[in-house]
């Protein structure tokens, strides 16, 4: 469990760096959705399933839909 926790935290840091680094806003949002899902698994590992449910529904679901809606109304590429 400790090793899985370590792997998930390293994955989170890599996801955060990649979301900041990419120029394509749509792929940044998809990377952020995967970040939120891995964060939900980490909540489950930390024995708080209510937070995991909320994070998976809100962080990975609603936030991603809102970001994609805004990107479709504005521009996809960062300058």
């Amino acid at each position: 469990m400790q090793v899985l926790n370590f792997i998930l935290v390293v994955f989170l840091v890599i996801c955060a760096l990649a979301a900041g680094h990419t120029k394509d806003l749509l792929s940044a949002v998809v990377i952020f959705a995967s970040y939120s899902l891995v964060m939900a698994v980490l909540w489950l590992l930390l024995q708080s399933p209510d937070v995991a449910l909320t994070e998976a529904a809100m962080g990975a679901g609603v936030t991603t839909i809102m970001f994609i809606a805004v990107i479709s109304r504005t521009s996809r590429m960062e300058k």
């Binding site: 024995q47 209510d50 109304r73 300058k79």
Partner: protein
């Protein structure tokens, strides 16, 4: 000695990871001109704070604070950070959506969502002789 050091690091990896995530999110907010990138950075910062809080309330070998049939009453993790963070996630989503609505307004007003281009537009407005 060295071995126990790495065991300590492995046991407190959540705190280190939360600090790293906060710094990465702050870097994203400060160095990018794009507003959507800034909002993603704010989200990363807030989830890092949530990770720190829930890790403080975690107890090794404990079960979630939920009553089940035939419960032994064994050690539970602290439910207070979970309850606070549950509210914090909802507040974070509302902040994100509010920021995104302002991004749409800015795009309608200026035609761009890059901060430096907006500042250039404003400066050229100020420099233009209107008297």
């Amino acid at each position: 000695m060295i071995y126990s050091f790495w065991i300590q690091i492995l046991e407190h990896v959540n705190y280190i990871g939360a600090a790293c995530l906060f710094v990465v999110g702050l870097y994203t907010v400060v160095t990018h001109n794009n507003f959507i990138k800034k909002i993603i950075g704010i989200n990363i910062m807030e989830t890092s704070v949530f990770l720190l809080f829930v890790s403080i309330g975690f107890v090794h070998g404990a079960s979630p604070p939920v009553l089940t049939l035939g419960d032994t009453g064994g050690p539970f993790v602290n439910p207070l950070p979970s309850a606070l963070i549950l509210t914090g996630i909802v507040v974070g989503v509302s902040i994100t959506v509010y920021g995104l609505s302002m991004v749409i307004q800015i795009h309608q007003l200026y035609g761009t969502i890059e901060l430096d281009e907006i500042l250039d537009t404003e400066e050229s407005k100020d420099d233009s002789p209107h008297a």
